[in-house]
Amino acid sequence: MAEEAPAIVLDKVNKWYGTMHVLRDVTMNVAQKERVVVCGPSGSGKSTMIRCINRLEVHQEGRIVVDGTELTDDLRALDTIRREVGMVFQSFNLFPHLTILENCTLAPISVRKMPKAEAEELAMDFLRKVKIPEQAKKYPGQLSGGQQQRVAIARALCMKPKIMLFDEPTSALDPEMIKEVLDTMVSLADSGMTMVCVTHEMGFARMVADRVVFMDRGEIVESGTPTRMFEDPQTDRLKLFLSQILRGH
């Protein structure tokens, strides 16, 4: 029974910035261990939607349930969800005044109350998984963009989240660094993590996504398996979007 409960439920979610309607009746379920790729033109509300899932943004109508907990004004619910959901940002957002290792151990120690030694061991484990254990004592400013983004992934994983959110994790990177980050995300997907990932990397979507969701102007326009979406788009908007992306690459 509990196995069947979806990891994330978005039910007719609406959000406005002032008078601008940025999310319109967004309804989507993400199953446990499902990997969803969200794509769509710039300004279509992808970031807003994904940020509503860990309540960095507050929705105004509809229901969001994450891992069985509904997102409300209740602060305890918020704490629970923030622990269960990890997030990776386009601009990395590492803490520049802390070392790589401290970036990774801060939340486990202060939020999960993990002993320092244990947190450091855990952090080193994840830094090895993202293949940069040797950088542990450096500061973020001393790393390349690709390395920083891999640290950001490791930092989120150190909280042992059940769900990982990615908001365009490779769009701030130079082309030669995109692959190292995508490889990290592929191996994370292989480990069975529930993932919602905003990205325009179609190769990545084909390789790992169970489902691709296409958003435009605040709505979910179309969704389906990557093959179906990319080879047989049903709506004109998706066709247009795909043609623009392919031309762009």
Binding site: M87, S110, V111
Partner: protein
């Protein structure tokens, strides 16, 4: 034919190495002077004119302050110093003997003469407190206890009345210890106050707190410190219930804390404002609580950003403590001015002003040098 490159003989590189350094015509002191001081007729003329003025002033100062100066004077039969030789050189030579005679009064004010070793130790304690707080190896929790301990010790030494020390009421204190007390307590309390006000002013959850913080900052900033000091010394006693008599120094101290707090709060708020939003968001996304996020992520980075304006505020405020002169508190400047009014040393105020300026300058220069070294250290630690 071989490929040039890897196997090229070392001799080929020699002329290139020699050209690594720019020629002295574009680099070095001579080039610097040519580019900055003698760049054209007008620039050369201005340089020569100002050079002349500066040299003339320097010669005049050396003449007055050293060559023609009177360092000691003989004593009169009654034991007092005889200022006659000083009077003779008035206008052409400095009378450092006045400073030599008056330095204890300038430093300690009207504190009982035979007890002045107590404020003397207090000055040393203050200085060691500053030095310790400046050193990184002392930046840990125990430092708070050290502060508490030393400040208590200073209180005991100044007041006395225990441990066989004679009781010295506060209105007999004076000089440098008063300035250091006002500055040190002023900072120690204004800084945390400022942090809370800065955070409160940015609060989105608590509009009432935000309003109070905005009112506090705007009201205090809209009033000159002199007015605040007057209010604290003259008006406050009128509002307090009769019998409740807060000591004058404490009232001035509170006025200073409130004043500095408002300015420092705005500096800190500027730093918080300048941080990228992503820092707070990343902390939120990791599940850190508000205080964890503030204390570990946003505040440390914001403070680092505002070190220069913060030190600027501190330096300004250190000098502003001398405004307590106008409400009759006996700080360094007041005791200096009182020393000048001694009829024996009439006409020696310049010398005393110079000595006091050196003392103020020493503290301010130490602050700014230290802040620059901290900035450099933080920069090299976190960047590149």
């Amino acid at each position: 034919m071989t490929m040039p490159g890897n196997s090229a003989p070392a001799a080929l590189h020699a002329p290139i190495d020699a050209r690594d350094r720019p020629p002295s015509s574009v680099y070095g002191p001579v080039a610097w002077m040519r580019a900055n001081l003698f760049n054209g007729w007008l620039s050369s003329g201005v340089t020569i004119l100002f050079g002349y003025l500066i040299i003339r002033a320097a010669i005049g100062f050396v003449d007055w302050g050293f060559l023609n100066a009177i360092w000691t004077v003989p004593a009169l039969p009654n034991g007092n110093p005889d200022p006659a030789t000083c009077r003779a050189v008035r206008g052409t030579g400095a009378c450092w003997a006045a400073v030599g005679d008056k330095w204890r009064f300038i430093t300690f004010g009207r504190y009982p003469y035979d007890q002045q070793w107590r404020p003397g130790i207090c000055i040393a304690l203050f200085l060691s407190l500053y030095v310790m707080s400046a050193m990184r190896q002392f930046w840990r929790k125990e430092l708070a206890f050290i502060w508490l301990g030393i400040l208590t010790l200073i209180g005991v030494l100044m007041w006395g009345g225990v441990l066989g020390l004679r009781y010295v009421p506060q209105d007999e204190w004076g000089g440098l210890p008063i300035t250091l007390i006002l500055a040190t307590f002023g900072l120690a309390f204004a800084f945390p106050l400022a942090v809370f006000v800065a955070l409160g002013r940015r609060s989105t959850q608590m509009p009432a707190v935000k309003l109070i913080c905005v009112l506090y900052v705007e009201l205090i900033r809209g009033v000159p410190l002199v007015a605040l000091l007057f209010m604290a010394s003259v008006m406050l006693p009128l509002f307090l219930p009769s019998g409740m008599n807060i000591d004058k120094l404490l009232r001035a101290q509170i006025a200073i804390i409130l004043f500095v707090g408002a300015y420092v709060a705005e500096v800190i708020r500027g730093g918080l404002q300048a941080l990228p939003k992503g820092q707070a968001e990343a902390a939120d996304a990791l599940g850190l609580s508000y205080w964890q996020k503030t204390m570990r992520i946003t505040l440390p980075q914001a403070l680092r950003l505002v070190i220069p304006p913060l030190v600027n505020t501190f330096i300004g405020f250190f000098k502003d403590t001398s405004l307590v002169l106008i409400i009759g508190i006996f700080d360094l400047l007041t005791s200096g001015k009182t020393a000048m009014s001694d009829p024996t040393w009439q006409g020696s105020s310049t010398e005393i002003y110079i000595v006091m300026a050196i003392v103020y300058f020493g503290f301010c220069f130490a602050m700014s040098t230290y802040s620059r070294s901290v900035e450099r250290k933080l920069d090299s630690a976190h960047n590149r």
